[in-house]
Amino acid sequence: MKGAPFMNDLIIPGSVSSPTVRLDAARGTMELSGESYPQNAFDFFAPIIDWARQFLRESPSPLTLELRVSYLNTSSTKCVIDLLDLLEGAHKIGRRVQVVWYCDPENERAREAAEEFREDVTLPFEIRMEGPGQ
């Protein structure tokens, strides 16, 4: 099934303190990679959360969130929780949504953080151990 051609993709290039963002409407994927401690996390994540909300409203297609984020500061963590809550709500009404969280196998702390996010939701949530650059 085709995605949502009426929606725009959202691409945000990464910086030292903000992740690269690729939100692809046709594929139904939201990819974030890098580190996240921007000056204002709420401003940074607002368009990402809006995009997900619009996708879930306007497209019947599945949506996958793929995270390769090695560090999230606490404000970014709160924003990711808001995003997960949105996906969880969609899951509960029968939408096909899933999360794939990639972790550096040598960084135990990153895996613990991913597991803590997973504890709070019931949607399909996979943690994959993969080194950087793989």
């Binding site: 921007p38 560090y71 500061n73 606490t74 404000s75 135990e108 702390r109």
Partner: protein, 182 residues
């Protein structure tokens, strides 16, 4: 009056005696936090610290630095205290551990609230801190744009109880200093 030249040797001795690896004093901007963050990570990685230790030191550095930036940013409009817009940050060794310390001028009216908050965190065990963290994650955003999570996250990553002090500067200001051992 002419000021004496900076005594670099005594400054250097203080750094070496305190096992300071990186220190910054001045106004905190986002780009300075990014630059120090890069230096911190490079340094710790060459010291062959574990990835988890690098993560914890880096995370505590970011939370403390962003707290200092946010608080001193609010003090900036006040011209009555020279240096109110500057923060001080140091990352050092403590035997096999690392210490991240940050300090800034604080209005005396903010001291009681902050010390109560720190006291609460110091008396909590790790499961209690995790529960408080999760509860706060679902709570409202604070008026200053923060999430109220920073100090809880710092306490969770610390290997020893948090230590802090408020030094009296004058009627209005205290110098707040917080040290976290990881």
């Amino acid at each position: 009056m002419e000021k004496a030249a900076l005594d670099l040797y005594s400054l250097r001795r203080s750094f070496m005696d305190g096992e300071v690896l990186i220190c910054f004093n001045g106004p905190f901007s986002h780009s300075i936090i990014e630059e120090i963050g890069i230096a911190v990570k490079r340094y710790l990685e060459t010291e062959t610290a574990s990835r988890s230790a690098v993560s914890d030191v880096f995370a505590v550095f970011v939370e403390l630095a962003q707290n200092v930036q946010s608080y001193t940013g609010r003090l900036k409009e006040r011209k009555d205290e020279p240096g109110a817009d500057a923060g001080t940050l140091a990352i050092g060794r403590r035997g096999d551990s690392y210490a991240v310390s940050a300090g800034n001028m604080m209005d005396h009216s903010d001291v009681v609230g902050l010390s109560e908050r720190l006291e609460t965190l110091r008396n909590m065990d790790k499961p209690g801190l995790k529960a408080l963290y999760k509860e706060t994650l679902r709570g409202p955003r604070l008026p200053d744009g923060g999430a109220g999570l920073g100090l809880i996250d710092v306490a969770r990553r610390a290997s020893q109880p948090l230590s802090w002090s408020f030094r009296e500067i004058d009627d209005r200001y205290r110098f707040f200093s917080l040290s976290v051992i990881i």
